[in-house]
């Protein structure tokens, strides 16, 4: 195991050394390239948020407690869900020109206080739902990257979808993590090198030894706990986990494309939700393959980079290197 890791590290060092050959990425894009990837700017798109109180029951959506434009409810989870949904809407609208999850202005329906002691948050195909956690394993689910993750599942669904099992399912999970993390980085105005690249930071219970649910920077290191065990995420194809658990490891192998995105964004530097986020978003819109494998997706991101930043751009070259570093050759 140790030897294998060592070997892997060696390989990474070699590949990183190779990276430097192509020079630092230039942020000074040509005007034409800038036009192609221009942000939509302050869009006129506005969210229609509908936050419900599940009253600790199973029924969804529960009781409507805050509609768009309403003042604060004083219920912490509800107000956080409202604000966070606004930030996620703004990422997709103002950066990528998307009008809500379905790109047709659909209401953002969310339920807080879903069930009692419920240790999860989910997108059920129509709405978001957030448990409160049991206070032991999880203390909350109202955290910006978690909300971004769940809403991104909605965007993925309305962008042609990715079958929620095996590699396509891990891509679904990874893309949700990417946009969850980007929502948080944008909210905090952090550049790629300043961000922690954690998903669900601080949501684990007080006695759990861990920082977050997942780490895109260092998959497999988010937690290590007697109760929870060890974060099982790999970051390289050599450690791809074959399992029937977790729909074929959708939350496990997502570490690989997560890390590729992290590498790409940090190679480029700057705001990850801008060029890298736009490339990922554009790739998702043009994928048209619900059963896509990791290499199908990698291919699509390269195509998207070529389209947005120009054929053979340093961005496209960097992206290819990032995929290669996680063991996906394109």
């Amino acid at each position: 195991m140790a030897r294998k890791l060592l070997k892997q590290n060696e390989k990474v060092r070699e590949e990183r050394a190779e990276m430097t050959d192509i020079g630092a990425p230039h942020h000074e894009l040509s005007p034409a390239a800038l036009n192609r990837i221009a942000a939509q700017g302050e869009s006129k798109l506005k969210p229609d948020r509908q936050i419900h109180d599940g009253q600790y029951k199973a029924a969804l959506p529960g009781k409507l407690i805050r509609s768009e434009g309403d003042t604060e409810t004083g219920i912490a989870d509800a107000d956080t869900a409202y604000d966070a949904a606004g930030q996620v809407f703004s990422l997709f609208a103002d950066e990528y020109g998307r009008n809500s999850l379905d790109d047709d202005g659909m209401p953002l329906v969310a339920t807080v206080h879903h069930r009692r002691n419920y240790n999860n948050a989910f997108w059920d195909g129509k709405q978001m739902a957030y448990g409160t956690g049991d206070g032991k394993l999880f203390r909350t689910f109202l955290e910006l990257s978690v909300v971004g993750h769940e809403m991104a599942h909605g965007v993925i669904q309305y962008s042609g979808g990715l079958l929620y099992e095996n590699q396509s399912g891990a891509l679904n999970e990874s893309i949700a993590d990417v946009f969850g993390s980007l929502t948080l980085q944008r909210g905090l105005a952090l550049e790629a090198h300043e961000a922690d690249w954690l998903v669900g930071r601080g949501i684990l219970g007080p006695d759990i030894n861990g920082a977050a649910l997942r780490s895109m920077k260092a998959p497999g290191t988010a937690y290590s706990d007697d109760l929870l065990g060890q974060d099982p995420q790999p970051w390289h194809m050599d450690h791809f986990v074959v399992t029937t658990d977790d729909n074929g490891g959708v939350h496990i192998n997502s570490g690989i494309p997560n890390h590729a995105f992290y590498l790409f964004a940090t190679y480029l530097g700057g705001k990850a939700w801008e060029i890298p986020g736009r490339i990922w978003y554009h790739a998702l819109q043009s994928l048209n393959n619900p059963m896509a494998s990791f290499s199908d997706w990698a291919d699509q991101t390269i195509k998207s980079a070529n389209e947005l930043t120009g054929n053979g751009s340093s961005e496209a070259v960097m992206l290819r290197r990032a995929w290669k570093l996680v063991g996906i050759a394109i």
Partner: protein, 40 residues
């Protein structure tokens, strides 16, 4: 429903917490229906 120990595939839901992180609760006897068997 969210996660079910007995049916690990064809899950219509996208949960943020994977089943392997929650399984410990069932092993410990903490009312697993609260965690997995959310039917609505």
């Amino acid at each position: 429903m969210c996660f079910s120990l007995n049916c690990s595939h064809h899950n219509p839901l996208n949960c943020i917490v994977p089943p392997y992180m929650l399984r410990v609760l069932e092993l410990r006897g903490d009312e697993p229906w609260r965690i997995w068997r959310a039917s609505y």
